[in-house]
């Protein structure tokens, strides 16, 4: 469903994406109009027929299967490792421990800033374990079955230490240090902004609103777990690592650093990847380990994570605690914001983004889509004896939006303006773009207010009090919740550099090559693993080159083949990768026009590429097939003057300045006062990601993200006991949403093309996940407000709801009994 906004002239209906593109993107000539069409995906046919190529599918004869011995205590010294029984098993080749990897350096993610404490993440634990699931030894055997059996026989003697199981433990006086380098367990402590006069503003504000929210530890849980196959190629002297990753070049960097090799001595191949969602955008210890063992033993080594490993030792995310105060003036405008944020980052710092990734983003992006000039935030990353965190789709934005949207609902109540009006007064308006926010980020244009108005209208917000009251009269608790947000996407090197990372991602580089047949391959460092780049990138190139997208193929996921790049994460690919493809394709189109101009004796500027032919603009009589230009450029280059043809290839880079998609999400829920269960009745998204290259794929990204956000809001939680023992180690305990848990999503689009990308497209891969927790929590609280109750933590478990209702009833028994009857 595509709607025109009621708002500014800058926004155009999404159905007119191709026209919008033509009007705002001088770098790509308008031609075929493939951009904006919901083409079926080029990658579907082989995936649907079981012909995909995932890492676990690869097995050459003689492969050694690697199974890990992992710590079953959260904090201990390792006194001894006895592998003798394991080594006696038939079929066992070796048991590798840290002692065998003396030359292998630990992973070390670094932020070059004084508020950050760098710590090492060893590939195998050396003398000390800091979380349950930490790898201690690797068993290598001729089958995975044999290796699993042998791993059971490896005896590890632990000297158990007190575990730091949570933030409160970690910050307590006299707490045991997870790392000696950080005696107070604080690995990051930033105050990136502290506006002068903030305290005075709070003192004199008409309204001060305060919220506390927290979010449980969760994990990305891609259906394909992590996996790798490593080999040593004697012919090239390379370690060849096939791995399920979003970031092949970053894995190459990490392996090269750890193994002390030059980067060209490491080849990383990521074939089909069964989901990543951020968990695979950092480098796993197991990837480095497999490479190290393959080099050590000169054998092919295969490791395929099982789900228990995935849920206990795979990177986790999002255990955060917010205390936020907002100062509002008498007219309901936000005039000051003060936040204290704590993130439980687990035991180690992931590479390369570090354990600061959630901490920094939380403080930097809390203000979101709202106008704000006075802000103070302190954000801390606190070490605990739990599995390390890494980015997970949206990183800290689901939490910052949760905090701000709870704040806005409270402000709407306190000021009497209501949820829609208080947001509308504070959202950045059309005429304010580009808007430089209090942190210095420059928002390109969007439809912040328009998306709110449209979403509220679609949900029937105007008639909601009546609907809700009628349901209450029947004993049913309905709630409506809204969440407005801006989705900063596609950071370039300038933005990442400001974090003071020592390895700074951001640009992307693409090579677009036409072969003598007139077909095109695109080589780029992003990594599609469900996002459909083989389709969308082909649409971009096809428009530039005037050919059918079916003639354009994508090559990715091989550091030997594609230009150096940064992979797929942070909603960057359609902007950074697509931008590089657009630029390289435009260059290649120029070469084709020049060749055609020579052959048909026209000026290059008069030549257009359309429908697979080159011709003088508007004159089909002059046309030459592009296939013929390609053949001439390669096989008959003697017909062309020097400088034309002799191959057909272009390479270009794109380093984005950042794009800002926006959306409003709205949910209607029914809460059962008896069971505490929450049922989603409706879910509405009104989003604006600029030009949609392929609207079907955009909708798919939104829907998948919303499902993950609803999972975080209602179902998913990694639980630990007080000794740091994980107790959610299967899909029986860690609940992913199923089809029965979700309604049909209603997804609507506004379209504000960005001038900052060659195509007008903005990044949009994370928005669904970002908006959903806040919309659902606000809806639950709208329902619970009718009985005087509220909840501030996600997931909202049935027991939390029942307890909140009971607590409210005990506070005001008469009132609450009346209202639930």
């Amino acid at each position: 469903m595509h709607d025109a906004p009621g708002g500014p002239a800058a926004a155009v209906p999404a159905g007119a994406a191709a026209e919008a593109h033509a009007g705002t993107a001088p770098e790509v000539p308008a031609a075929g109009g493939w951009i904006g069409r919901s083409l079926r995906r080029a990658e579907d046919r082989y995936l649907l027929t079981g012909r995909g190529s995932f890492v676990g599918d690869h097995e050459v004869p003689g492969t050694l299967h690697l199974v890990l011995v992992r710590s079953y205590v959260a904090s201990a010294t390792i006194e001894a490792i006895d592998a003798s029984a394991a080594l006696r098993q038939p079929g066992v080749t070796a048991v590798i421990t840290a002692a065998d990897l003396a030359g292998v350096a630990p992973l070390r993610g670094v932020l070059a800033r004084p508020e950050f404490v760098a710590t090492d993440m060893p590939v195998l634990a050396a003398g000390r374990v800091r979380h349950v699931g930490e790898p201690i030894a690797a068993v290598l055997a001729d089958s995975a079955y044999t290796a699993e059996d042998a791993a059971e026989l490896v005896e590890v003697s632990y000297g158990e230490l007190p575990a730091v199981a949570g933030v409160a433990d970690a910050l307590a006086d006299g707490a045991v240090a997870v790392h000696e380098a950080a005696p107070g367990n604080v690995l990051v402590d930033v105050t990136p902004v502290s506006s002068p006069g903030l305290d005075d503003i709070f003192t004199s504000a008409a309204h001060v609103v305060e919220v506390r929210v927290s979010t449980a530890r969760i994990t990305a849980a891609p259906l394909e777990g992590r996996a790798c196959v490593a080999a040593f190629d004697e012919r090239t002297g390379q370690v060849v690592l096939q791995t399920s990753t979003q970031v092949p070049h970053t894995v190459r960097t990490a392996v090269a650093l750890s193994l002390g090799m030059d980067e060209h001595q490491v080849r990383v191949i990521s074939p089909d990847v069964g989901g990543g969602f951020g968990q695979k955008c950092v480098v796993a210890r197991e990837e480095v380990l497999a490479a190290a063992v393959a080099r050590l033993l000169r054998r092919t080594v295969k490791w395929v994570e099982d789900r228990r490993e995935g849920l206990t030792s795979g990177f986790q995310a999002r255990e955060q605690f917010y205390h936020v105060r907002g100062a509002f003036d008498a007219t309901g405008h936000l005039v000051g914001l003060d936040a204290d944020i704590r993130c439980d980052v687990g035991a180690y710092s992931c590479f390369p983004v570090t354990c600061g990734v959630e901490v920094l983003m939380a403080a930097n992006e809390l203000p979101g889509p709202y106008r704000l000039r006075t802000y103070r935030a302190r954000s801390r990353g606190i070490a605990t004896n739990k599995t390390p965190i890494a980015p997970y789709r949206g990183v800290s934005r689901p939490q910052t939006v949760l905090a701000m949207e709870r704040l806005m609902d409270e402000a709407g109540r306190v000021t009497g303006l209501g949820a829609v009006e208080v947001r509308d007064r504070n959202l950045v308006a059309a005429q304010e773009f580009p808007y430089r926010n209090v942190m210095g980020a420059s928002y390109d244009a969007g439809t912040y207010r328009e998306s709110l108005a449209r979403c509220a209208e679609l949900l029937g917000h105007g008639s909601w009090p009546g609907v809700q009251a009628r349901a209450l009269a029947e004993g049913r608790l309905l709630g409506l919740g809204l969440a407005c947000f801006v989705e900063p996407t596609a950071y370039g090197t300038a933005s990442f550099g400001m974090r003071k990372m020592t390895i700074v991602p951001g640009y992307e580089r693409a090579t677009v090559r036409m072969d003598p047949s007139g077909s095109v391959i695109m080589m780029v460092g992003t990594h599609s693993h469900g996002q459909g780049h083989a389709t969308t990138y082909a649409q971009i190139a096809a428009d530039a080159l005037g050919i059918d997208p079916g003639r354009v193929r994508l090559r990715q996921g091989d550091t030997e083949l594609v230009p150096h790049g940064w992979g797929t994460f942070a909603s960057r690919s359609i902007v950074a990768g697509g931008g590089a493809i657009a630029r390289a394709s435009a260059d290649l189109a120029g070469q084709l026009r020049a060749i055609a101009a020579h052959l048909i004796e026209a000026a290059p500027g008069d030549v257009e590429l359309v429908g697979g032919r080159a011709q003088v603009r508007g004159d089909p009589a002059t046309s030459v097939p592009i296939d013929e230009l390609a053949r001439t450029a390669h096989h008959a280059a003697h017909l062309l003057p020097d400088g034309l043809g002799r191959g057909l290839e272009a390479t270009a880079a794109f380093d984005p300045e950042g794009t800002f998609s926006n959306a409003t999400h709205g949910a209607i829920v029914e809460v059962s006062p008896d069971t505490g269960g929450v049922r989603l009745v409706r879910y509405v998204v009104v989003e604006d990601c600029g030009v949609m290259i392929n609207p079907m794929i955009v909708d798919g990204q939104v829907a998948g993200g919303v499902a993950q956000g609803i999972g975080a809001a209602l179902f998913e939680e990694l639980c630990f006991d007080e000794s740091g023992q994980p107790v959610s180690s299967s899909f029986v305990d860690y609940l992913l949403p199923t089809a029965a848990d979700l309604p049909d999503f209603e997804i609507h689009h506004l379209c504000t093309p960005t001038p900052r990308t060659p195509t007008g497209a903005k990044g949009m891969g994370e928005g669904g996940t970002i908006g959903a927790p806040a919309a659902v929590l606000n809806a639950v609280n709208d329902a619970l407000a009718q009985v005087g109750a509220s909840v501030g933590r996600i997931p909202v478990r049935p027991a939390d709801v029942v307890a909140a209702i009971a607590e409210a009833a005990s506070r005001d028994p008469v009132d609450s009994r009346r209202e639930t009857q």
């Binding site: 649907l48 079981g50 989901g275 998948g704």
Partner: protein, 159 residues
Amino acid sequence: MTDVHPIRITVNGTEHELAVEPRRTLADVLRHDLALTGTHVGCEHGICGACTVLVDGLPARSCLMFGVQTDGRSVETVEALGTPEALGPLQQAFTDHHGLQCGFCTPGFLMLVTAFLRETPSPSDDEIREVVASNLCRCTGYQGILRAVRAAADARAAS
């Protein structure tokens, strides 16, 4: 445990004689002994359903079945539903309705729904949702899968 047992199974219409350890899962037999890697293993404890195949026509989690249990039986896997050049109707519906993203869970859904539509040729939307809720997908939010199954059922009814 490491003794091997001879088994004879028919997979996608072709009979195979194999010698397998009793503990070897059907998923491993299919994937590594018969090189049918379209069947994927997502959790190894019977929840996600990525490994769903049909055993004598009924959906089964191939991670929870041993290869020896299929001795004398007939197994269907995703490789039997169509080819990239000639998709089966359910596969066509999945691409038409964007019922897959990364594609890892997809073979399990296709096998699950194949058996479902044979048994229930004219399902209600609620029945579709209930059966799709048997398996897990982390990419799509199930929206495209539900639409694809509806479309495949409708196309079947119309033909």
